[in-house]
Amino acid sequence: MEEETKSKVYILLDERNRVIAIDGGYTIQNVDIKTWKFIDEGTGDRYNLCQSNYLPTPLYTDDGIPAWKFDEKSGLTARTEKEIEEDRKAIPIVPTEYDKLEAQLDWTAIMTDTLIIKEAKSGDSMFDKIKVWYDMGLWSVEQVATARDKGIITKEQYDEIVGKKEEK
């Protein structure tokens, strides 16, 4: 009978048992059954189009962190906010070309007293931006201190950005 045709659902796990891919059904060609794990079978969109319809929420967060995990006892479960946040913090901060350019522009503007606005349009204050430049390694302690001395950030904000480090 027509409805007896069932689609199989497979998942791919990383070393921490996070689900990094789910597929099967109509796109079974994406699955290498030697490395993927079979978890379920059935009929309808949830199984035929399991890549995008099996889980009730997306496989990844919007910033690309796995949102589901698997173990033999509990099966598929959503990862907690805490687990996701820990993953998010563990991602190394890598400056983009745009970051490098903007950090350079901000430094030049401060040094030449040509900074047009102290509050970024996005709502990020210069404090937020300078903290990012410092965390990314684009600015040194001395550059942050210069921003403090020119009144761009406060003494308390400087301490928050650099901790107890002192400029040379």
Partner: protein, 601 residues
């Protein structure tokens, strides 16, 4: 009639004196004209050799006869003028042309008093009958014997179309008659001026006309204005047959003005002339009354013959109603001519999707794509299915009459009809079944309780092969597949792309980093996809450095996050990029081949 002896069979009760032709006086001769050529509109027949002379005066003539047909089965009656050698003459004729059978048979009845008529061999006789009525119906007329001994088998034709209410193209079981004119079963309309809505319910036994309003009348009518000039001055009979098998008939003469044929407690029968109507046949259902009609007949003469009528052929009725250009109902099956084949293979042997929207249920069921058809071959030992799941709920077709059709490679069309019940079944149920030729299997319309959708299902038996050109599912009780041209490829492609979109050639999509390990990008789609589709085909992402160099890496997963009206938003995650080689560059893009988005049902 004088010497012309009309022999009435059991279907024939007539008084021709009240009808169109008056044979009560005179002596009649019959000439039978036949042709071996199909008859088209306004065909000229020549070298008619198979006539049967009624007496020696007309023996062995070659007669050329110009006739007018409408391309269908037609019957013409009328007074005719003849032009032949020796002058012009007036006579009466009955002619019957049957194009469906490919032959024409015509009968001229000549008044023997016109003794001067001589038709010489090779001469032309032109029949001019400006007042002739052309009615598409099967009319049987036989000439039997010699010397004007004419025998008729005369089934009084019904001037009303769809007289048994069996043609119901719209497929509704109930029509609500609000104020104004409302379409109902084919050729019949319902009208109210104001007040509570009336209903016209279609059932297997006719129609029930229910008028709950306490003041206003429900009008149930058919427009016969095109016949008014012909009917003017004629005596006619109206016959009503009710669902309890009682009947009534009423006689009247039409003189070009409105006439109340009969008035009862519950209803009136009227001929209405006014406005744009020059002959409107109308049944009035009086306030608070219900009329359960099985059939209606309007015929010439003063004898009712409705009791001898059988149910008309629905397809013939359809031809009559729509004049040989029967409207074609919308096809409820996608890709019905199998012309859309986005996956692009010429042969499929798999358990899965093949040509768009169609699934083969087993790898032993082979599908070959031909130029204007597909061939299914069952290479296995069991019966396998070829199906299309129809995006539907049970409520969509509950109570509806549906017709399923299939056309094979010889253009034979097989069809069947059923009415879907109002309650969803607890298990998979087949509602319409069509046996396929050569005992190869069947074609069905079914509902799966598991998936809770309807589906079309061709079941092919082991070892069998069938080539099919098209299939159709439509509302109503008639098959209109014969009238369908292959649908627009563009329209069918668009419908199919709601379920599956194949992008085969090189495409480049710009993306944005949502994090160091994920990129979002948008694929435009020609139509909103049915549900969140699966995404396949992305194998690589790349980013440009500020100096124009390209860094690339392989992906971990690909999926669609959101469906929009004309796009899908995709998320691709990729191999760990802790050094930020990909992420740090100025932009990211995908250059891909053969992307598939599947929202197949």
């Amino acid at each position: 009639m004088a010497t012309g002896a009309f022999t009435l069979n059991n279907k024939m009760q007539t008084n021709l004196a009240g009808g169109l032709l008056d044979f009560s006086t005179g002596t009649w001769k019959a000439i039978l004209l036949t042709s071996t050529a199909p008859v088209a509109t306004a065909e000229t027949l020549s070298d008619v050799s198979g006539y049967q002379p009624s007496n020696a005066g007309y023996a062995e003539q070659t007669v050329t006869c110009s006739v007018t047909g409408n391309g269908n089965n037609v019957v013409s009656f009328g007074n005719a003028s003849f032009t032949a050698s020796g002058g012009s003459y007036t006579a009466r004729y009955i002619s019957y042309y049957e194009t469906g059978a490919g032959l024409l048979t015509g009968y001229m009845l000549l008044d023997e008093n016109d003794t001067d008529i001589t038709i010489n061999n090779g001469e032309t006789v032109t029949i001019s009958a400006p007042n002739a009525i052309i009615i598409g119906t099967t009319y049987v007329l036989e000439v039997n014997g010699q010397n004007g001994n004419v025998e008729f088998e005369y089934d009084h034709r019904n001037l009303l179309l769809n007289p048994f209410f069996t043609v119901n193209s719209k497929g509704q079981s109930t029509y609500t008659i609000a104020s104004g004119v409302n379409a109902t079963v084919d050729s019949w309309k319902g009208q109210k001026t104001s007040g509570t809505d009336a209903t016209i319910t279609v059932n297997s036994n006719g129609v029930s006309l229910t008028n709950p309003d306490t003041t206003n009348t429900l009008f149930f009518y058919q427009d016969l204005s095109s016949l008014s000039s012909f009917l003017n001055g004629k005596s006619m009979t109206v016959s009503l047959k009710f669902q309890d098998d009682t009947s009534a008939d009423y006689q009247f003469t039409f003189n070009g003005a409105s006439v109340t044929v009969h008035s009862e407690t519950d209803y009136n029968v009227r001929i209405y002339v006014g406005g744009s109507f020059t002959f409107q046949f109308c049944i009035d259902v009086k306030p608070t009354k219900t009329l359960n009609l099985k059939a209606v007949k309007l015929e010439l003469g003063d004898i009712s013959t409705l009791a001898y009528d059988t149910l008309p052929n629905e397809n013939e009725q359809l031809n009559l109603i729509y004049g040989g250009n029967a409207k074609s109902n919308r096809n409820l099956i996608d890709n019905p001519f199998f012309t859309v084949n986005q996956r692009g293979s010429s042969t499929y042997s798999l358990n899965g999707y093949t040509v768009d929207r169609w699934i083969t249920g087993n790898s032993n069921l082979q599908l070959d794509v031909n130029s204007n058809s597909i061939t299914l071959t069952n290479n296995g030992a069991s019966q396998y299915e070829f199906i299309q799941r129809i995006e539907s709920t049970f409520a969509l077709y509950a109570g509806k009459t549906l017709t399923l059709s299939i056309k094979d490679d010889s253009d034979n069309i097989y069809y069947n009809t059923a009415t879907i019940p109002n309650t969803a079944p607890a298990s998979t149920t087949f509602y319409i079944g069509i046996p396929l030729p050569n005992d190869s299997g069947d074609f069905n319309f079914a509902y799966t309780a598991g998936l809770q959708i309807f589906y079309a299902d061709l079941r092919l038996k082991a070892g069998k092969t069938i080539t099919i050109k098209a299939v159709k599912l439509e509302l109503g009780s008639i098959s209109t597949l014969a009238y369908d041209a292959p649908p627009s490829y563009a329209e069918e492609l668009l419908k199919c792309q709601r379920y599956f979109l194949s992008i085969k050639n090189s495409c480049t999509y710009a993306g944005i980093f949502s994090s160091q390990y994920a990129v979002e990008f948008t694929i435009p789609t020609p139509i909103a996809m049915r549900t969140t589709p699966t995404l396949t085909g992305i194998t690589l992402i790349a980013s440009l450095t500020s100096t124009g160099a390209i860094n690339s890496t392989s992906i971990v997963s690909q999926s669609v996050m959101h469906v929009n009206a004309n796009s899908v938003e995709c998320l691709v995650t990729y191999t760990a990029d802790t050094a930020g080689v990909i992420y740090s560059n100025v932009n990211v893009f995908f250059q891909t081949y053969n992307i598939n988005l599947s929202a197949d049902l």
